[in-house]
């Protein structure tokens, strides 16, 4: 049997900021092809966990390996696509067309001086088609709706042909219909292209059936199971500290 190194191998990860504990003793393993959701209350450390995985924060203690390699040795960053939460918080007046932003996804893989190759152009076109932003490619990003902007950010991540796609609350500010389409797309990327998908969400009710693995994070990692076993009211109560039924109604405002 061929040994497959995990995409992420996290052991005893602890992160503190200003003496305050954000994450404690997290250990988890994500394998190639996993389809994972991370849920948890606001301030529970979900985004911090993702930022640690991406190397944007340095752990207080513990280790993270990417594709079997420690951070310092890891070089294949273009294999990891990242769609941050604050896409809406980016400068609305920034002079960039949709096409220019999607092209950014190829920059890290291009050599210096390198002109866009046919491969670059194809990757960009494919990413734009998948996210349905081809028609708006000449619009300025500042003129887009929240949902359109989110799709552009994902297209940029896809343009680098990542093996792993990490999304932080990808559907904030997106209406329910395109949400469904969006999850269908994630599922397709996972099933057809064997892309490892990791995303933070509040919409656990919408997607529980599809998720391969569910991580519930509130300072510590509470569960990392098959979602159908994981989402019991007890767990939810432990996670959010309130009655779980409230949550389903709570997250849509």
């Amino acid at each position: 049997m061929k040994f497959i190194s995990p995409v992420f191998e996290v052991s005893n990860l602890t992160f503190r900021a200003n003496e305050q504990s954000i994450l404690e003793e997290i250990s988890l393993t994500i394998l190639p092809g996993d389809y994972c959701a991370i849920i948890g209350p606001n301030g529970g450390g979900k985004t911090t966990l993702i930022r640690l995985l991406l190397g944007l924060e340095k752990p207080t203690s513990g280790h993270i390996k990417l594709f079997g390699q420690p951070f310092k040795k890891f070089k294949r960053w273009s294999k990891i696509g990242y769609v941050p939460q604050r896409a809406a918080g980016l400068d609305q007046n920034f002079p960039a067309t949709v096409l220019e932003v999607v092209k950014m996804g190829r920059i890290a893989t291009q050599g210096f001086f390198a002109k866009a190759t046919r491969e670059d152009r194809e990757a960009i076109e494919e990413a734009m088609t998948k996210m349905d932003v081809t028609d708006i490619q000449n619009k300025l990003v500042g003129e887009l709706s929240g949902g359109q902007r989110q799709r552009v950010m994902i297209a940029r991540a896809l343009a680098s042909k990542p093996e792993v796609l990490i999304l932080d609350e990808p559907n904030t500010g997106v209406d329910v219909i395109s949400q469904k389409r969006f999850y269908k797309l994630l599922k397709e990327l996972n099933a057809q292209e064997k892309m490892t998908i990791i995303f933070i969400t509040h919409d656990i009710g919408v997607i529980a059936d599809d998720i391969g693995r569910l991580f519930t994070v509130n300072q510590t990692l509470l569960t990392c199971n098959n979602p159908k076993e994981a989402i019991s009211c007890d767990d939810m109560s432990a996670l959010y500290g309130i009655d779980a039924h409230l949550i389903h109604n709570h997250h849509h405002h």
Binding site: L54, G55, L56, K75, R76, W77, S78, I80, G81, Y82, P84, L90, D91, N93, F94, P95, A96, T97, L99, E100, V101, M104, G105, I107, A108, Q110, F112, F113, N138, L140, G142, R156, A157, S160
Partner: protein, 265 residues
Amino acid sequence: MLEMLSYDFMIRAFVAGIIIAILAAISGSFIVLRRYSMITETLAHSALVGVAVGVIAGSNPLWMAVVAALLSAWIIEYLRSYFHLYSDSVLAIMLSGSLALAVIIVSLAGAFNSSLFSYLFGSILSVTKNDLVVMSLFGVIALSLLGVFYKQLYFIAYDEEVARTSGIKVDMLNFLLVSIVAIIIALSIRIVGTLLIGAMMVIPTVAALRFRQGFAKTILIALLFSVVAVIVGMSSSYFFSLPSGATIVLTLLFIFIFSLIVNRR
């Protein structure tokens, strides 16, 4: 009108001015979009320290200005990242500190004179052949570096974190950008002067942004404004015997007002 081009000093001034116009517009666009415009003012004042040293030591003030501006840029970045100080405070400290140092050096040497005035506000008469060589040399280096890293710098300006996670060497490129800017500012003080170079880095891009285009077009518009302002400004400097830095910046101001009026919303 074209008779001014029969003077060697005017030709040198135009060549120097256009080199600066191109460099300032391109590098300025990254600085403006990163909300880091004030670094141009600080580095310009630091360059003045180099000028002061150069005037007194009798070496080429332009070389000294490049060295001083580079050192200042590196100190600023070091203070910002190592001590986590607020950027604008660091810039304010370095600006006043540099100016104080420059004034003391000049005073001690008793060298307050008209040549210093030309470093403050620029002068078309001051560009020597040697200057032109120095400016072309550094100009070519700066322009090639900007050309090589243009896309990366653009990605960083738009979305620094995603640029970082996609494997772009953000810290190295930030360092490179401020170094390039330091060199450009130091080279500019002959024509535009230390007190006025900030406008030259900032206004073309801010005016171009009003036209709400993508990045490539925005840079082209900024380049156009910058070059036009240098040509118009230096010509008026010649005809009315005014400091060229002042006439260039006033031209830029007119362009800025024009772009505000044309793009009312």
